[in-house]
Subunit: 219 residues, 2 copies
Amino acid sequence: MTETPAKDSIRPRRGRRDSRPSGDDRERAILATAERLLGGRALDEISIDDLARGAGISRPTFYFYFASKEAVLLSLIDRVVAEADAGSEGRLEELPADPTAHWRSTIDAFFATFRAHRAVTLAAARAHGTNREVQELWARVMENWIRRATAAITAERTRGAAPEGPPARDLAIALTSMNERVLLATFAADQPSLAEPEAVNTLLHIWLNAIYHPPTPPH
Amino acid sequence: MTETPAKDSIRPRRGRRDSRPSGDDRERAILATAERLLGGRALDEISIDDLARGAGISRPTFYFYFASKEAVLLSLIDRVVAEADAGSEGRLEELPADPTAHWRSTIDAFFATFRAHRAVTLAAARAHGTNREVQELWARVMENWIRRATAAITAERTRGAAPEGPPARDLAIALTSMNERVLLATFAADQPSLAEPEAVNTLLHIWLNAIYHPPTPPH
DNA sequence: GAGCTGGTCAACACAGTGTCGAGACGTTTG
DNA sequence: CAAACGTCTCGACACTGTGTTGACCAGCTC
């Protein structure tokens, strides 16, 4: 086991085993089937046979394209992340003329990114506890948001618009974690959760107060 | 299937099938084994055979005591919740003389509750996505914290110490969600996470500012 | 037309779950 | 005290899902 082909392994592609040509359709069919089925049930309630049949192939053939169900989910997440990154290219980012608008658009973007692929997002969240690779990929995505928020907070502080307070990164981590959890609960329509419009407003209130008010205690 | 015995079903005990006497030790042995093993790996990496052997019984005998692995986890969570409720009986709660101290102690209590059974907490979080019963139980626990926070915020507002702003419950949900996510990341030592001392301080800052500052936007 | 490469699948080995039926052991009760 | 009953135990089975092996076909290349 654990053979090391070492040949043609320029890039460790998540999906197909090695070469390039067609049969690509099959791969896409598997991904499409997975995303479709994830709309209805969790990944562990979907068998590899379901995925294979959905793509019109047999179970062993599935393994020609993906090493496991989890690898399929990883591919799906990759695509979402890539789409999101592409979409956020054109973000303003450098316009703190109206800070409130800036932060609102950041939070909106966070929701928009994951709303476009709600099923994949929820599946990723579920797999987060189980699967190390999903964990790492998700961590990279969050790290991205955290870094942007940290930079923005720091910028506001050096500009004099925001007071000093807890380390910018600590603040960014806590606030982004909040966004993540609230978003997940909202998408899953969990018991104690906020519907989307209120969610964004409430989160925005918390972000603004956390960033723009000094840590002065109440009377 | 789904027979309804209706006899002796006064209380739907989570654990043993029906009667009362000893053999209790076995049940406790299973629970102890489960908590021990959860310290090292996730629930789906633990087989029923592991649980049974750990408790010194055979696999079929396990089913005499619990309907599934998940039922064991549920029992474990029940115990943590019961302990936590018992422990929070003596909480001050009615002393807003020093609001900062009040909120700090609330956040500390949140961490302390789950730190005592870190492994069970993490297992519960992992199972949250998969298992409906865990979901409901966890929701009840969170609802509890949310209700207390909502009441406290409302009290501070009517007392005039806190300004109006987003609905108290919305605020409580978002802030409690933040605590939950940050706590889980901290316990799991996830990638972007806060170590405990900073975590509590940062969370406290966010709570205080969210509650005691009006939603006035920055300049 | 021999040989390579991409693609396919029947059949197998295996791990884990849940159930059934046969008991052992202790306690009422006739 | 023996028969009947409830608790408790487990060997053996059926089933579901995963991952692998080995044979095979089609097309392309020299």
